[in-house]
Amino acid sequence: MAIAVRRWRTWLWVLPAVGLLLIFVYYPVVDNVRLSFFSWDAFDPTPTFVGVDNYVAAAEDPVFWRSLFNNTAYAVVSLIFQVGLAMVLAALLEEFVGRRLRGPLRTLYFIPAAMSITVVGILFSFIYNPEFGLLNRALEAVGLGQFAVAWLGQESTAIWAIIAMSQWQSIGYCAVLFVVAMQRVPREYYEAATVDGAGPIRSFFAVTVPMVREMTTLLVILTISGAFLVFNEVMVMTAGGPNNSSQVLGTWLYRQAFFEDDMGYAATVATVILVITFTIAALQMWVTQRRRVEA
């Protein structure tokens, strides 16, 4: 008995962490799924069970689908820039740029990632500003004045302008992660490729790409789930407007919960996000597992 008590007393070490996680992370996430089958608002604060009504409402809500589309667009563009281009950028920094410039360039490219998304968001809403923004002035300066528009004020461009800002902020961060992965590739592999007559482009595809595969998988997952969780930049730059054209799932749920006072519907949108991000995470585990078995 005394031994059992002493054994369980060792749990004191993990208790704070486990307790905080259960109360403030796990419980709310599970409760959110439950609440998605209920309906309540500020005037009637006791949730009433409504079955799948909220899900039906989502399926019939054009803004919900618009948000889903925007999140998907975010994911696709981010994959191209933050995985594809970032990998090329990292390889250039490692193999092409000389020792002296490598460090400073890496630091410079990384700086935006150290800044708050709010700061970057407000800064870019100034850059996109039709009256004094840098972007339109630059377009006018090179004779492309006819393309100068109110980037955040038009339904057709708002979400793309936000996505572009996000690439600006994150490409350096992803490149630095790739750089670290590339530094772990043994030099002999590159030397062997050179002896075999491979040029820099061939050895990028034959050595670098396969050797940093784990980092690539990881960044693909992080980028996709990040794209479905996006909230801050949209909130800061357009709050989903104009006319809900730049709404994403995160901002739509925020709006439903705290402006439209439709908490149950907001919980439903949150559950959709949970399912998407969870599926992606499960997919990653499955892929890494299978690879380990193969290897």
Binding site: W13, V14, I117, T118, V119, G250, A257, A270
Partner: protein
């Protein structure tokens, strides 16, 4: 004679391509030079695209409202430090202090609680320790947005809604999985002989933790603290939803409300942005190596 040359040629052959190639075709060399120039141009363009907006932000903070419109590319006519003073007095000082409190508070709680848990998971035979690892690891997959609505109810129920504690507690809870794994990966590598020696000397686990293991973990604790600082200083969703008192707002949310209050006083907003960004950029420049170690350890494992 002829036989000798016949032998000599194949020996020479493999050496030739690499030795002769560069001067073989002037066009190939020309193409290579062009390619190099293009790559350099691309890298330089990216550097400018990243650096110029930042420079523009800092400089615009010194401009007058009129200069912002008439000379968006130009230098400010004078170093108007009063814009920065003005931004500071108009609310940045309060947001700054709030961010500082929440950031430092959550750094202390998250590193301590994580180190604690990591010790339990790596140095002690814990009942159900695999389940605990799984539970903590699983937390990595759960995002703040997904828990927003129940958390709103929960925090009001506990009575910490609209207080510093709401943010400190949430910044701790949601960053625990990452931080525990970061510190755990480091603790696993520490040799077990040190605790054994201390145990023989009669030290308890608590004593070993505080006076032996924790000091040895200093490098990774620094990384963990820096990454937590970056997270807490810049966090937006929780700060937006769970703080409504203007006096308690942190920088990311405060800046947005300041921007809407100062609709047309652009230079002051630019100055506010610069002040808000500066601490983390400086911290990153100073502690770059620790930052990157934390990122790659945490991401890679």
């Amino acid at each position: 004679m002829s036989q000798q040359t016949a032998v000599a040629v194949p020996v020479e052959a493999p050496v030739r391509p690499s030795a002769v190639k560069p001067s073989a075709s002037p066009w190939a060399t020309f193409g290579k030079v062009i390619l190099r120039l293009l790559v350099w141009a691309g890298l330089a363009a990216l550097a400018v695209a990243i650096f110029y907006p930042l420079l523009w932000m800092v400089l615009s903070g010194f401009k007058s409202n009129q200069e912002i419109f008439s000379e968006p590319w130009g230098l400010p006519g004078a170093l108007r430090w009063e814009n920065y003073r003005h931004a500071w007095d108009l609310g940045v000082v309060r947001y700054f202090t709030n961010s500082l409190i929440v950031t430092i508070g959550s750094i202390i709680t998250v590193t301590l609680i994580s180190a604690w848990a990591a010790y339990g998971l790596t140095r002690i035979q814990l009942p159900l320790s695999n389940a605990v690892v799984l539970l903590i690891l699983g937390g990595l997959m759960l995002a703040p947005t997904v828990a927003l609505i129940p958390l709103f109810r929960l925090l009001q129920f506990i009575g910490i809604y609209d207080t510093y504690w709401a943010l400190i507690v949430l910044y701790t809870a949601f960053r625990l999985p990452f931080t525990v794994f970061l510190i755990r990966a480091y603790m696993i590598e520490l040799p077990h002989e040190v605790d054994e020696a201390a145990t023989i000397d009669g030290a308890s686990h608590a004593q070993i933790f505080w006076s032996v293991i924790l000091p040895m973990c200093r490098p990774i604790l620094v990384s963990a603290a820096l990454l937590q600082a970056l997270f807490a200083w810049n966090e937006f969703v929780f700060a937006l939803v769970f703080i409504s008192d203007e006096n308690l707002k942190t920088l990311p949310v405060g800046l947005v409300s300041m921007q809407s209050r100062l609709l047309t006083d652009w230079p002051v907003v630019f100055a506010g942005l610069t002040i808000a960004a500066l601490p983390m950029v400086l911290l990153f420049l100073i502690g770059q190596r620790q930052f990157l170690r934390g990122l790659t350890e945490g991401v890679g494992k």
